[in-house]
Subunit: 82 residues, 2 copies
């Protein structure tokens, strides 16, 4: 089963990459862009989708400073992390 | 309008982060994981969604080695890059 994990900085955690993008865009002529956040994307084939939460907690994300969202790419919707 | 950009290494381009994850997971007891790819996630509020492709081409992605997919987060589906 194909799965996608979206990993973002938690609210309140510094996001220097997002800030850098937000400042760079107007210089390239792109105006009206706000609230930019940069995170990571992990896509993988997994035999047991029940293992995905454990993978995120233990390897893919840092739960102290990042939130993650798992999407199963079979027409099912994503479930945000608690 | 909230938008999400998914950026991945193009097929055939080395993905060392994906390889590292794929090798690390079995050591943590997660078996049956294949085809891991690690990319970037950019989420932003944009006034004109027509500018998103230009932003990807010029700043957010490196079109030589990365493919990107724009998703508008208002119930519309994503459109992969050409």
């Amino acid at each position: 089963m194909r799965a996608r994990v979206l990993i973002r900085p938690k609210a309140g955690i510094l996001d220097p990459q997002g800030q850098a993008v937000e400042r760079a865009l107007p210089a390239l002529g792109f105006d009206g862009v706000e609230h930019v956040h940069v995170g990571r994307l992990v896509e993988l084939d997994v035999g047991d989708a029940g293992q995905l939460d454990g993978m995120c907690q233990r390897l893919l994300a840092n739960p102290l400073i990042e939130e993650y969202e798992v999407q199963l790419l079979d027409g099912q919707t994503g479930t945000p992390s608690p």
